[in-house]
Structure formats: structure tokens, C-alpha cells
């Protein structure tokens, strides 16, 4: 599936240029207009419109009943969202920054993820937890974590991450409509990327990966903030005569084995790129499951090009931490290419 195959549905509005932040905003706005059970709350999401302005204007349109600033307590935000969902609402809540989601860990892991299973399917929790994540914005300590592996390791959660405004809109609308709880991870460094969109745009289904750029020699797997890096790498590689296929995973849990496996069987080589540390990171799961399922198609071990196994560095040091096209190409160069 490719992004290009997507057509705006009937009733599309004229194209407008939107940032990813504005596309997310439009997705929440349209969901709230369509479904009166959607409510929005979190820290600073009201009159301020969120620290990244993703909820800008929603308080003015929908009022205190449906859009509210909550006390500053992440466990409380997720815990009360669970109670609201039991009573039939569809809460969309915000964790202001990735590392500030950790106080909510117990509510997410022990309740949000397990409620449907505990209750034999009786209680659905249609809750979206938006988490601005990852670095490359010069953020101070605790503002640049990539926490995806904590959530993807938890059965019961759906974990997705868009990399562009069209997906941001389409996937967030699908997440809000989903009866499963969704951890919606928004790459902060991509909030200000612009794209002309005719809303309401509908891209590929939320739980699928897409081939963003076709190639024949290597499958480069990325998501969220590193999709841009992977595309830049593919562009650079053409000068070296290397044809790289770039996959935007979009959905981390579930993992789209079909799309990624088909690409790997075509190219016979794959590498996965993420900002999070390598050890026990999401790339380990990608490499392991692709190897298990496609071993006899592989010409080389699957590589992980990731952040180092260190805490996320301070702003003046993050350029040494983040995966770059040069680092990715150097890694691909370690393979034997006979």
C-alpha cells in the first residue's frame, strides 16, 4: 500500500496547507463534530491549546464540557479517562511530553491495556493517549524520550506513529473511532512539516505499513521521526548506485508482517532505524520477527541503526546521538555485497 493510492473521500474541502500539528488539530475537531461522546482533556489543552498548539481553538468551539484542562497528574488523566470510557465517552487525552507519561504507566499497563481482557470483552476502553515523543527539537532533559517499546511490549495496546500531516489526520481519526485503546505517538520534530491536504483525507488503514519509496537492494524500515531520515538516506544512496526501499511502519503494534515481509523477500536485506536506544528496543522485535519468518530470503543480518544505549542527551549533544543518513549508509556498508 502506498500513500499515493489514497483519494480524498466525497465531500472533501478545498486543499489547504497544514502542518502536522494543524492536521492533528483538524482530526480532533472533526471527530468531536461527528461524535458528541468524544471529549478532550489534559494539561494545558484548554484555552492555551496545548504546548504544541495541537488543541488550539477546540476549547473555544466545544467549551468546558468537552475540552478541559485537568490537574497536573498523568495517572489521574489516564485513570479518569478509563472511568469516563466505562460510562460511554471517548476520551482523547494528552501526555504533555513523552517522559511525562511515566506517572501514568500503571494505569496504562494494568488497566487500560487489560480491561477488555479482564472483563471477557464486556468493557471496551476507546481511549486515545496522545504522546508527543522523540527528540531533535533541542529539548531539555525529559523532553525527548522515545518510549514506544514500553507500550509495544504491552498486550492490549495499539501503538501507532504518523510521520506526515496526511497520516496524522487520517490515523488520529481512526484512532479516535477505534474501540481499542490507542497510544498515539506524535514525533515532535515533525509537528511543523507542511503538506497541502483536502480534508477529510483518508490514507491507508492505521494498522498497516506503507512503502513510501520503492527500491530493489535494501528495505529500510522507519517510523515517526526517522522516516524523514530514511527517505534522505535513500536519496543519497542513489548516487552510490544503491536502490533503497523505504517503509513507514505507521503501526508499531500490531506489526504489519505482510507488507514488510514482502519487501524484505524482494530486497533480501533490511535495516530498521529508530531514535530509541538499541538494547531491548523496538528494532530488536522487528529484526527478530523478520528473521524468524524470512530467514531463507535473507542475504545479510538485519541491522539496527538507533540511538546509543544511553539516556537521551542534552541539546548540544543530540546530533551525535540521532541516527543520520551517513550513519545508516555506513551501517549498510558493513554488509558483504558480493
Amino acid at each position: 500500500m502506498t500513500l499515493q493510492s489514497t483519494a480524498p473521500p466525497a465531500g472533501a474541502r478545498p486543499p489547504v496547507t497544514l502542518t502536522m500539528a494543524a492536521a492533528l488539530n483538524a482530526a480532533i475537531q472533526d471527530s468531536m463534530r461527528d461524535d458528541p461522546t468524544v471529549v478532550l482533556f489534559g494539561e494545558d489543552v484548554g484555552p492555551l491549546g496545548g504546548v504544541f498548539r495541537v488543541t488550539d481553538g477546540l476549547y473555544a468551539e466545544f467549551g468546558e464540557t468537552r475540552v478541559s484542562d485537568s490537574p497536573l497528574a498523568e495517572s489521574g488523566i489516564v485513570g479518569t479517562a478509563i472511568g469516563m470510557a466505562i460510562y460511554g465517552l471517548r476520551p482523547v487525552v494528552e501526555m504533555q511530553f513523552d517522559a511525562f507519561s511515566y506517572p501514568a504507566f500503571e494505569q496504562i499497563v494494568s488497566h487500560l491495556a487489560k480491561m477488555r481482557n479482564r472483563t471477557r470483552g464486556r468493557i471496551s476502553l476507546p481511549i486515545v493517549i496522545r504522546i508527543p515523543y522523540a527528540g531533535d527539537i533541542g529539548g531539555v532533559e525529559h523532553h525527548s524520550d522515545s518510549s514506544e517499546a514500553y507500550w509495544t511490549a504491552t498486550p492490549g495496546l495499539t501503538v501507532v506513529s504518523p510521520s506526515n500531516p496526511a497520516d496524522a489526520y487520517s490515523m488520529l481519526r481512526e484512532a479516535i473511532a477505534s474501540d481499542d485503546p490507542v497510544i498515539f505517538m506524535e514525533p515532535k520534530s515533525r509537528y511543523w512539516v507542511k503538506e497541502a491536504l483536502s480534508l477529510p483525507v483518508q490514507t491507508a488503514p492505521m494498522n498497516t505499513a506503507v512503502v513510501l519509496r520503492e527500491g530493489t537492494d535494501v528495505t529500510l524500515i522507519a517510523y515517526g521521526p526517522t522516516v524523514k531520515t530514511a527517505l534522505a538516506t535513500a536519496e543519497l544512496a542513489t548516487a552510490e548506485g544503491l536502490s533503497i526501499e523505504v517503509i513507514d511502519l505507521r503501526s508499531l503494534a500490531p506489526f504489519d508482517d505482510a507488507t514488510v515481509g514482502a519487501s524484505l523477500r524482494k530486497t533480501s536485506r533490511a535495516a530498521v532505524v529508530h531514535e530509541a536506544a538499541q538494547f531491548g528496543g523496538y528494532g530488536a522485535e522487528v529484526a527478530a520477527r523478520l528473521t524468524e519468518r524470512n530467514f531463507f530470503h535473507l542475504a545479510a543480518p538485519i541491522l539496527r541503526i538507533t540511538g546509543f544505549d544511553i539516556p537521551y542527551p542534552s541539546p548540544k549533544l543530540e546530533e551525535y546521538f540521532l541516527p543520520t543518513p551517513d550513519r545508516i549508509l555506513a551501517a549498510l556498508g558493513t554488509w558483504e555485497w558480493s
Binding site: 471529549v39 464540557t65 468537552r66 485537568s70 490537574p71 497528574a73 495517572s75 489521574g76 489516564v78 485513570g79 479518569t80 479517562a81 478509563i82 472511568g83 469516563m84 470510557a85 466505562i86 460510562y87 460511554g88 465517552l89 506517572p103 500503571e106 494505569q107 494494568s110 488497566h111 487489560k114 480491561m115 477488555r116 481482557n117 479482564r118 472483563t119 471477557r120 470483552g121 464486556r122 468493557i123 471496551s124 498486550p155 492490549g156 495499539t158 477505534s178 474501540d179 481499542d180 494498522n207 500490531p254 506489526f255 508482517d257 505482510a258
Partner: protein, 394 residues
């Protein structure tokens, strides 16, 4: 810890007398009881009946657990006044958010014993229909369910419904961050929720003075801007009067209330606990003399509201329930291994379908091997180790 830091605040002052309407000896309290009055005799008789039945159930399940019929059972023996008063103060449309210790609250709300005990037998994590009974799953993590109660109550308020949420907590749970967040969110949002803290004085083995440094748990309500009541938790009349008023207030838009019931956990934490390591038999005896059922019995007899015949009738009813509970706990546990995959997600997942097929093949192989072995050893009957997957869980 032996820090011995002298606090300059008044919080070390001795606790006040808890609010009480019937005293330890079964006499009506004549002092001012904070404006609360004794419920009418009919209401008290109903509460008495529910407490007697609940205790018989609790004792029966503890016995069944000792016999190995259940994996574990956290008893609420001695806490019947708190449990029954809390439930009795709710309308059928209200929601209850209980913990693992509150099985008798579920019983009193009409959940069948086999459905309450499904989780303690290991059948499934929560064995009753939460929407039918308006009872959330019994929470095992501490204080987490208080936030769910606040959320549901807030949703009720946003929808302009009259539904009230009531959550049961223990004294130990009030040390958790989620308790603080729940109290604060409830007060800020003026949620129609009632927090009933059963202060049974022990968090497994740890006494309350190692949980907190203030006089009472109810005092904490002041800090959140909500009313707090320190109540004799073994006096069902007082507990019912206060929780009913709190529920009425919540329903009328008056916001949350914190009710602390001072009580005592007569049994061990669970069957795997040994209370002799952390409390004396003398202490337990003191609280046995404050028994919630005994004192109400004396009071009801003294006002002519409970005859020997009525008491015998209630005890027969309790005995019938105990018998039924024993009988349903002797039935074999029915589980369907393939159901493991059915309720994890609303949307189907390929990986889970694959794992389900794997387990189905493994079960079929085991069944074939068992059949083969049985044929070889005829005429022994076939006794499969797991029940046949049937999808009978609809």
C-alpha cells in the same frame, strides 16, 4: 525507621472520637452525632440481615479456601458494616468500584457467588457482568480504581445524568499517589463520587501509624476542599447515615465526600498471611467485642425490632447461601484455553490468530495422545486434562 522527628504541627494529636449512632454495647448514642440520626428500624433490620448473610458467606469462602477450593480469598470479616452500608446507600443505577477485599459488597449488590468467586478460583480475572451489576472489576492494584470512579462520576456529570460512583479503599491505599490524584480530581471537577475508606488498621502487616502522620484519614479531606467524616466503621447505623448523605449530596451536585470507617480486619490478609507475626490476640479480642453485627442485634432486640424467630429466619437464609456456595465451588472449573485470545483486542490481530491456531493444534495433539494412551490401557475411561474448547462463553 527511627528518625523520631518532632513535628511542629498538630497532626500528632490523638484522634477524635469517631462519629457513632449505636455504641459498642448496642445502645443508641445520645450525644450529638454531627447532625446524623439513626436510620429507621426497618432500614436497620435490612442492614442487619445483609450483614448476617455477608458474614456467613465470608466465613464459608474462607473455609473453602483453606480446603483448597479457591486460590486465595481476602476476607472482610469484621468489616461488614462498612461494606454493607456503602452498597446500601447506592441506587441501582449507581456504580461501585470495589477492591479485592470487597466480595461481600458484590454479594450484597446481587452478584452470584460463583460469579464473584470466579476470579479467586482462577477461572477468569473478573467473573461477573460489570454493566448488569454496575460494578467495576475488583481492583487488585491499590487506589487505581478510585480514579476510575472519579472518571465515571465526571462522565455522569458531563452527560447531566444522576448516576453516582462510590469506591471502596483501604487505609494502606491512601498512601498511594492515585488516592491523592483521585481526591484532588474529584474535588476540582466536583465529581459526584463518594470515597469510602475502610480503615481496618493494617496494610497486610503494616499498621496505620507507618502509613501516615496525621490524626485521621478523614482529616485529609480538608486539604482537597471536600467534606471528610471519621465514622465508627463497626456501627452500620452511622456508616449508613453518613454514606447515604454523601451519596445524596453527590447526586444533588454537591461534589465528592471522603468517609473513613474505623474498623478492624478480623481475619488474616489472605490465607497465605500469618497475623500472629504483627498483632496480638488481645488486640483482636478488643475488636471482637466491638462486633458490628452483635451490637446491632442487641439494639434491634432492645427496640423490639428483631425477634428470635426473625433472627432464625435470617440465619436460615444465610445457611442456604452457604450451602449453595459450597455446592457451586465443588463443581469443576470450566475453562476454554482458546478463549485466551478472544478478548485482548476489539479489532482482530493476525499474530493472535496465528498463536490461537498454534494452541489449538497443540491441544488437538494432546487430545490425540491421550486417546491413544487410553486405548492402550483399556478399559480405563478417558479423562482429558482440559475441557474441550467449545466457545460456550457467549
Amino acid at each position: 525507621m527511627s528518625l523520631n522527628v518532632e513535628s511542629p504541627v498538630v497532626s500528632t494529636a490523638s484522634a477524635p472520637q469517631p462519629l457513632r449512632l449505636i455504641d459498642d454495647t448496642g445502645h443508641a448514642v445520645t450525644d450529638d452525632a454531627g447532625g446524623f440520626t439513626l436510620p429507621d428500624p426497618g432500614t436497620l433490620l435490612g442492614l442487619y440481615r445483609q450483614m448476617v448473610i455477608a458474614r456467613r458467606f465470608d466465613v464459608q469462602v474462607t473455609a473453602l479456601t483453606r480446603q483448597g477450593r479457591l486460590a486465595t480469598y481476602p476476607s472482610a470479616l469484621g468489616q461488614e458494616a462498612c461494606e454493607i452500608a456503602a452498597v446500601a446507600s447506592l441506587d441501582p443505577g449507581d456504580w461501585l468500584f470495589p477492591t479485592y477485599r470487597d466480595s461481600i459488597a458484590l454479594l450484597t449488590r446481587g452478584v452470584k457467588p460463583e460469579h464473584i468467586l470466579a476470579s479467586f478460583r482462577g477461572e477468569w480475572h473478573s467473573g461477573y457482568d460489570q454493566y448488569e451489576h454496575r460494578i467495576a472489576p475488583q481492583a487488585t492494584p491499590l487506589a487505581t480504581q478510585a480514579l476510575h470512579a472519579v472518571g465515571l462520576a465526571t462522565a455522569s456529570k458531563l452527560k447531566r445524568d444522576s448516576t453516582v460512583a462510590l469506591t471502596l479503599l483501604g487505609d494502606g491505599a491512601t498512601s498511594e499517589g492515585d488516592a491523592h490524584e483521585a481526591f484532588n480530581f474529584a474535588a476540582v471537577w466536583q465529581a459526584p463520587v463518594v470515597f469510602v475508606v475502610q480503615n481496618n488498621q493494617f496494610a497486610i502487616s503494616v499498621p496505620l501509624d507507618k502509613q501516615m502522620h496525621c490524626r485521621t484519614i478523614a482529616d485529609k479531606a480538608i486539604g482537597y476542599g471536600m467534606p471528610g467524616y471519621y465514622v465508627d466503621g463497626n456501627d452500620v447505623a452511622a456508616m449508613y447515615a453518613v454514606t447515604s448523605a454523601a451519596v445524596d449530596r453527590a447526586r444533588a451536585g454537591g461534589g465528592p465526600t471522603l468517609v473513613e470507617g474505623l474498623t478492624y480486619r478480623m481475619e488474616a490478609h489472605t490465607n497465605s498471611d500469618d497475623p500472629s507475626r504483627y498483632r496480638s490476640a488481645d488486640d483482636v479480642d478488643v475488636w471482637r467485642r466491638r462486633d458490628p453485627i452483635e451490637r446491632l442485634d442487641i439494639y434491634l432486640v432492645s427496640i423490639g425490632a428483631l425477634s428470635d424467630q426473625e433472627r432464625a429466619g435470617i440465619r436460615d437464609e444465610a445457611e442456604d447461601l452457604a450451602t449453595a456456595t459450597r455446592e457451586c465451588m465443588t463443581l469443576p472449573v470450566q475453562v476454554d484455553p482458546l478463549e485466551l485470545f478472544d478478548h485482548v483486542y476489539a479489532a482482530p490481530r493476525t499474530a493472535l490468530s496465528e498463536q490461537r491456531a498454534f494452541l489449538a493444534a497443540e491441544l488437538a495433539e494432546h487430545a490425540a495422545l491421550a486417546e491413544h494412551a487410553a486405548l492402550a490401557a483399556q478399559p480405563a475411561p478417558i479423562t482429558p486434562s482440559v475441557s474441550t474448547p467449545s466457545g460456550a462463553h457467549a
